[in-house]
């Protein structure tokens, strides 16, 4: 048996380029922002990045199984609308509404999964259709941003659990914990099998239908977590607040080394991809680039990251 890790394997790992980019962008950010390594900055960064990271994980899982979820952003929006419409001041009401919102997020993700794996239309179109549907419902209930989120809820979210430990970190730790557990299960192998070669997975007795459904359910959990963060952060319900997540999470996943056709890459990738996108906006801000150029630069850098992500593949064909 050959040993597991040798250098060749490391630089051919699909997540390796995104790791390099992440380091580079952290260095860049730290050099532009003198107080980057302080607790304050750390916490405020965390508050901004967490929703993107969580949605990237949700998207990453779906991409791994060979699908894509374009409705993820609309789901986040609809959940914020729901929570902002129903939440009251009491702790009990907060608790119930958060639970209700989470349940709905998981249900909506399940609907996507069911439509895709039962009827078999292309995921891209299916989730585009559901995204329009969710967005329509959200607009119906809340045409303009509004609703009510108790101050105590937002405050709780922004507070520290104990000194130098922000509450928001709990969300990420929770996410890591779930992923760590999942990554050691049989189910996780089945995700790669279905994403990598659906026919082969089927011929090996893997339940393709169930695997996809489970992935969407799991993805729903992360979408729910992200929605809670967004609501607590913005303290409003907004039918448009989540829309950018749909494609940003796809970009984060691909930057993180996942293959759009599925079954390739590690779920750590989207996390790094999410961080990269988040830090990118920081860097552009601190580099004093005007907002018009910010979008432009963002586009350039995403393309650049994607190109770097293609390096392992290039090296592989060269050494064939």
């Amino acid at each position: 048996m050959k040993n597991r890790l040798n250098w060749k394997n490391i630089y051919q790992n699909p997540s390796f380029p995104s790791f390099l980019i992440l380091i580079a962008i952290i260095i860049l950010n730290a050099s532009l922002q003198h107080n980057f390594f302080t607790y304050r900055t750390f916490k405020s960064n965390l508050l901004t990045f967490t929703p993107l990271i969580l949605t990237s994980i949700a998207q990453g899982l779906v991409i791994l199984v060979g699908c894509v979820d374009l409705s993820l952003g609309a789901t986040v929006s609809l959940i914020t609308v729901l929570m902002a419409s129903l939440m009251g001041d009491s702790l009990l009401s907060i608790f119930i509404v958060v639970l209700l919102g989470s349940g709905l997020a998981i249900l909506m993700s399940f609907v996507n999964g069911f439509l895709i794996s039962y009827f078999g239309p292309p995921p891209l179109l299916t989730t585009y259709a559901t995204s329009v549907l969710w967005f329509g419902i959200a607009l119906f209930f809340m045409p303009t941003p509004g609703g009510y989120i108790p101050k105590s809820f937002s405050k709780m979210y922004r507070s520290d659990l104990f000194p130098n430990f922000p509450v928001v970190l709990l969300f990420l730790i929770g996410a890591f914990f779930i992923l760590f557990f999942i990554s050691r299960t049989r189910f996780y192998k089945h995700i790669y099998a279905v994403g990598g070669n659906e026919d082969a997975a089927y011929a090996n007795g893997v339940n393709v239908f169930l695997t996809k459904i489970k992935v969407f359910l799991l993805s729903g959990v992360f979408i729910a977590l992200a929605s809670i963060c967004v609501v607590a952060q913005t303290a409003t319900g907004d039918a448009r607040c989540g829309l950018s997540f749909s494609l940003n999470s796809v970009a984060a996943s691909i930057i993180g080394g996942l293959s759009f056709s599925g079954g390739k890459g590690s779920i750590i990738g989207p996390i790094m991809g999410g961080l990269i996108l988040g830090l990118l906006i920081n860097v552009l801000y601190f580099a004093n680039i005007t907002s018009f150029y910010q979008e432009f630069m963002k586009g350039i850098i995403i393309i650049f990251s994607l190109a770097i992500g293609a390096i392992p593949k290039y090296l592989k064909t060269r050494s064939l």
């Binding site: 048996m1 299960t185 189910f187 790669y192 990598g196 070669n197 082969a200 089927y202 064939l320």
Partner: protein
């Protein structure tokens, strides 16, 4: 009645195309039963029904004595039926050990994978067939023959009572075939029943106790080798449906000796090297010559073809055409110079699986630069129809999706793609992998015709008989070097094997 498996009058069609019209089959405990038939005769369809992957439209299935309706593949697996798939059922991006364990992972009550046990099981499984691969290799990095072995290993590791092997030897070299046969004989002793599908008749006569022949989805005959002699002439008419006559016999007839010394050198390869793979490969091909690349599997033969066709870059060495040094950086440069490769892995390199036969066949022409901007569709249709006839595609329908063709018919499309072009140098990478005996004969004739027209051919074949039937010279490749050249009358089974194994 002691049949371990019996199928009666199975029928199956796919959107109107009949794959099986009336298939019956019996299998005794502890026997190896061959299943033969031309490409598209329904062998794979039958195998997929037995292993619960598809449901028959009509007919009965008896297993271990009682009638059964296989509802799913899992159910077949529970009944200890396991199958080696023609198109392989491996997940390319997963590792060897993950693939061996796929679908029947051992888990803790919490659902956590027991990796240690999975590794032990995988290691034990690959030891069974003495396959030399690492458990941590990704399947996509393995050579086609290793992938095939892994597929067999995976099926064996499920401890089947009924084992279905759908063309397991198509991409194996003779040494690997030997190992497989040893294993099959051992399984037979353990009372395992085996269904063995192959287009190589000598394999059938060698290993099987009995055989069943399919033609056009029907069972047309059975040969019991306890009563009948193990001879090709009994089997071939069953497959082709034609009365046996004289010229039917010599499919693997040796090509008569031809002298090329006076002909012009078309291709010259001078100390070609590729890091770790090839070392100082030099040879010349003259006009109209057919040269074979022999030797054990994976000694670098495919790399030579890949370099010449622009899929791989060489590290050093020269390639000359008509005495002029040329540089080939990518396939399109090779094609411009008239060098065409018929690739070996049809699923990966040769075909657009989701496109129809027409598109696949015209693509090489359309991709050429000299083609007009607006395609002459009428003409193209004409050529496609002639090609379909030449390769005797079943069904002869240009609108059929390639992924819906039988394995051998897919391979015919790969070959047919290049026929309508006019190559100067034709590189063939195991072209008849999984192709039935009649088409094989047609292909040999096509090669001979091309060679008479002055086309030079470089042929790699895992089947020695193919080299014997086609080649004027055979270069034996061993560990990336050409170690011997066998010419003319010396090209025979014994010499080829002896040189490949380096026994002198």
């Amino acid at each position: 009645m002691s049949f371990i498996l019996e199928a009666r009058n199975l029928k199956k069609s796919f959107d109107g195309v009949v794959a099986l019209s009336d298939a019956s089959f019996t299998l005794n405990q502890g026997e190896i039963c061959g299943l033969v038939g031309a490409n598209g005769s329904g062998k794979t369809t039958f195998a997929r029904i037995i292993s619960g992957l598809i449901k028959p439209d009509a007919g009965q299935l008896y297993l271990y004595g009682s009638q059964i309706n296989l509802k799913s593949h899992l159910e077949a697996e529970k009944l200890a039926i396991s199958m080696v798939h023609q198109n392989l059922s491996l997940v390319p991006e997963m590792t060897v050990w993950e693939n061996i364990n796929l679908g029947r992972e051992i888990i803790t009550p919490l659902g956590i994978l027991k990796k240690e046990e999975a590794l032990i099981r995988a290691e034990a499984a690959i030891q069974e067939l003495k396959v030399n691969i690492s458990l941590y290799d990704k399947v996509s990095q393995l050579a086609p023959s290793d992938q095939q072995l892994l597929e067999i290993v995976k099926a064996l590791s499920r401890n089947p009572k009924i084992l279905i092997l759908d063309e397991p030897t198509a991409s194996l070299g003779f040494k690997q075939v030997e190992i497989l046969f040893e294993k099959l004989i051992q399984l037979k002793k353990d009372q395992v029943s085996v269904i063995f599908i192959s287009h190589r008749i000598w394999e059938i006569t060698r290993i099987c106790d009995r055989l069943v022949a399919f033609r056009n989805g029907k069972t047309v005959g059975e040969v019991d080798f306890q009563q009948q002699p193990r001879e090709e002439r009994i089997i071939i008419p069953l497959i082709t449906g034609k009365k046996e006559n004289e010229d039917e016999k010599g499919i693997h007839e040796k090509r008569p000796y031809r002298n090329f010394d006076t002909r012009q050198v078309i291709l010259e390869v001078d100390s070609l090297s590729k890091r770790d793979k090839l070392h100082n490969i030099s040879f010349k091909i003259r006009e109209g010559e057919v040269i074979g690349l022999g030797g054990l599997n994976g000694q670098g033969q495919e790399e030579i073809l890949f370099i010449l066709s622009g899929y791989l870059r060489k590290t050093s060495g020269k390639i000359k055409i008509n005495n002029q040094e040329i540089i080939i950086k990518n396939p399109s440069q090779a094609i411009e110079r008239g060098i065409f490769l018929v690739p070996g892995d049809r699923q990966k390199e040769g075909l657009f699986l989701n496109h129809n036969v027409f598109t696949n066949l015209v693509y090489p022409q359309v991709a050429q630069k000299k083609q007009k901007f607006i395609l002459p569709l009428k003409e193209l249709r004409q050529t496609v129809n002639t090609t379909i006839q030449k390769i005797s595609l079943v069904p002869p329908d240009p609108r059929k999706l390639v992924s819906h063709l039988s394995g051998g018919n897919q391979q015919k499309v790969v070959i047919g793609k290049w026929l309508s072009l006019s190559p100067r140098i034709l590189l063939l990478n195991d072209p008849t992998k999984g192709v039935d005996i009649e088409t094989r004969k047609n292909l040999y004739k096509i090669i001979a015709d091309l060679s008479n027209q002055g086309v030079s051919v470089l042929l790699y074949a895992s089947d020695n008989e193919e080299l014997i039937a086609n080649c004027d010279r055979v270069l034996i490749v061993f560990e990336g070097q050409i170690v011997e050249e066998i010419c003319g009358d010396r090209i025979c089974e014994e010499n080829l094997i002896a040189s490949s194994l380096r026994v002198q």
